[in-house]
């Protein structure tokens, strides 16, 4: 299946404080409410204008700083379908996998695109195409892919505990 996605393009070292500010972390827990603050301190245009299926295309070290998982939740429930970055901060990468949101490493793609441009995600071929160039989606280790395939870590745990395993 090939799908077309509108891009929101950002630079290097975008940290979790601007993706989802710390001042909300112990008071907001409802995912759709969390989503209304997505990228609030970086790009106030994002939350009011993001549409389901949009993708983030960012530079190096996306999601650095705090471990707060809501920095993924905020984007997922805002409708973001994929996050592509030159590189990810490690906890953010894990948080994406655990929430079933595919993190894709394509170095430098953010410098080829501008916010509002579109790209094509080909799930069968495992590629991203933009501006006439096709990029392979790097494969993940099988145990990590299994979490994504389950829809995230929570569904995976639910399956385990519902089956009555320890």
């Amino acid at each position: 299946m090939k799908t077309e996605h509108r891009c929101w393009v950002y630079g290097d070292n975008v940290n979790t404080d601007v993706i989802f500010p710390g001042r909300y972390t112990y008071t907001l827990r409802e995912p759709h409410e969390i989503a209304t603050h997505a990228l609030e301190d970086l790009d106030p245009d994002f939350a009011p204008n993001v549409r389901p299926g949009d993708v983030i295309v960012a530079g190096a070290n996306w999601g650095c700083g705090s471990s707060r998982e809501q920095a993924v939740t905020a984007l997922k429930f805002a409708g973001v379908a994929l996050i592509i970055a030159s590189s990810f901060a490690r906890i953010y990468f894990r948080n994406c996998v655990n929430q079933g949101l595919l993190p894709i490493i394509i170095p430098g793609l953010n410098t080829q695109l501008r916010t509002g441009d579109t790209l094509i995600w080909d799930r069968e071929a495992g590629t991203i195409s933009a501006q006439g160039v096709t990029y392979p989606i790097p494969p993940l280790p099988p145990s990590v892919q299994a979490i994504l395939d389950a829809g995230g870590l929570l569904p995976m745990l639910q399956r385990r505990f519902r089956q009555g395993r320890p």
Binding site: P21, A60, R68, R94, S143, L157
Partner: protein
């Protein structure tokens, strides 16, 4: 066969396997599972998994530190939910409001020891490396998985080595070293990696200073960071530890992806400019920058030596901007009171807060107004970090922050100490 890094040895131990190499994916059972004010949200995820009981209640530590004492009713409800959860599950280690910051408290309580592994729902869990432990941050869902299953997958990281030599000059601290390293390495040199410190420069650092290095390697993207534990660490732990331990050291022929060397002798005090911890300049480049608020505290720099440094600068002087001092723990605060440090600080005009994270991440106890400039001993100065996007934050050592509070502008502490 090449030797093993600390990370390879520590994760093999935590996974109960004889050997591990960088790139291996292991199911790790940590010695300690650490969380804080986020524990109510984690317990909600735990309940959604369908699990009934936490597997290792004796391995779980929870501190109320990030917004404590509760600044609002919603925060208070969050704390109440955590207390109830701890009671229901028989969780062994709950540290109440005022006990201190999680990373400081687990060391003081002897809950994490050399060679052990702590996974924490907090990005500064790298901090535990000062004891020669493996500490890494995880997300909330992962902490719920740890509570429910006792295990989590970890990829054994490649390692880089940072060798420190020489001795710091007066008024220069491990904070300046950490900022200097961040500036030199950038934010991605340590991404996904174990940062393993070495060299005789470490022995000159006090026990209070050492945690700054692994703590701030989180800002370089490190998975964990490590200082080789020595007799000073063993002596610190002796009256605190609750079990035996076996320290781990990297083999001399371990393979490192990169080697960095820094000499401490010539280092000057450093300051990180607003919005990025690695945008660092020598203090001499930013002297005179006005500040409205100075903050000394956090897991990075809220220990006794940090308060001593502030007292040394402030003795017999008065601050001319707000100075907020928040000890990292009750133990630190008590020691500071007994030494007369709190007397000195309060006499100089400082406001002392309840031990905890304070305003570091914008919850309470010293949020700046829009347009106000803060100089902080914390580890992060991202946009909006302290609660409002238009309040720039500079990061520096307690010496620099205290000296800046005297003048209301960024000040080289060596001028004041001279």
């Amino acid at each position: 066969m090449a030797g093993r890094t600390f990370a390879e040895k520590a994760l093999a131990r935590a996974a109960g396997v004889p050997d591990a190499r960088a790139g291996d994916i292991l199911d790790v059972t940590p010695d300690l599972m650490l969380s804080h004010d986020n524990s109510a949200a984690i317990s909600q995820i735990f309940r959604e998994t369908g699990a009934a009981r936490v597997v290792y209640p004796e391995r779980i530590a929870i501190t109320l530190d990030h917004a404590a004492p509760a600044p609002t009713t919603r925060h208070a409800q969050n704390h109440a939910e955590i207390r109830e959860w701890v009671r229901q599950q028989g969780i062994a280690h709950l540290f109440e409001v005022g006990r201190g910051i999680c990373h400081q408290v687990i060391a003081e309580e002897g809950l994490i020891l050399p060679g052990e592994t702590v996974l924490g729902a907090d990005s500064h869990t790298t901090h535990a490396g000062w004891l020669g432990a493996f500490g890494a941050g995880v997300g909330r869902t992962e902490m719920a998985a740890l509570w429910a299953t006792g295990q989590l997958w970890m990829r054994v990281p490649e390692a880089i080595r940072i060798t420190l030599s020489g001795r710091l000059a007066r008024g220069v601290t491990a904070k300046d070293v950490a900022l200097h390293i961040l500036a030199a390495m950038g934010t991605t040199a340590a991404l996904y990696r174990s940062v393993e410190f070495a060299g005789d420069g470490l022995t000159g650092l006090s026990l209070d200073e050492r945690p700054v290095l692994p703590n701030m390697m989180a800002e370089a993207g490190a998975k964990n960071a490590y200082l080789p534990p020595d007799d000073a660490v063993f002596a610190y732990l002796e009256p605190r530890r609750t079990r035996d331990y076996t320290p781990l050291y990297p083999d001399p022929d371990a393979e490192y992806a990169a080697d960095y060397r820094f000499d401490l002798d010539s280092l000057a005090p450093q300051v990180a400019l607003p919005e990025q911890p690695h945008h660092v300049r020598p203090v001499t480049d930013v002297i005179g920058q006005p500040v409205h608020q100075a903050f000394i505290g956090t897991c990075t720099n809220g220990r006794l030596d940090d308060l001593r440094a502030a007292a040394q600068v402030l003795r017999g002087r008065r601050v001319c901007c707000r100075l907020i001092v928040i000890p990292a723990s009750a133990e630190v605060m008590l020691a500071a009171a007994r030494e007369g440090i709190l007397d000195t600080l309060i006499s100089a005009g400082a406001a002392i807060g309840t031990p905890g994270c304070g305003p570091c991440m914008g919850n309470h106890m010293g949020i700046p107004a829009p347009g106000e400039v803060t100089i902080s001993t914390g580890s992060r100065n991202f946009r909006g970090r302290m609660g409002t996007p238009d309040a720039p934050v500079y990061l520096a050592s307690p010496y620099v922050v205290a000296a800046s509070a005297i003048r209301g502008t960024i000040t080289d502490p060596r001028e004041v100490l001279a």
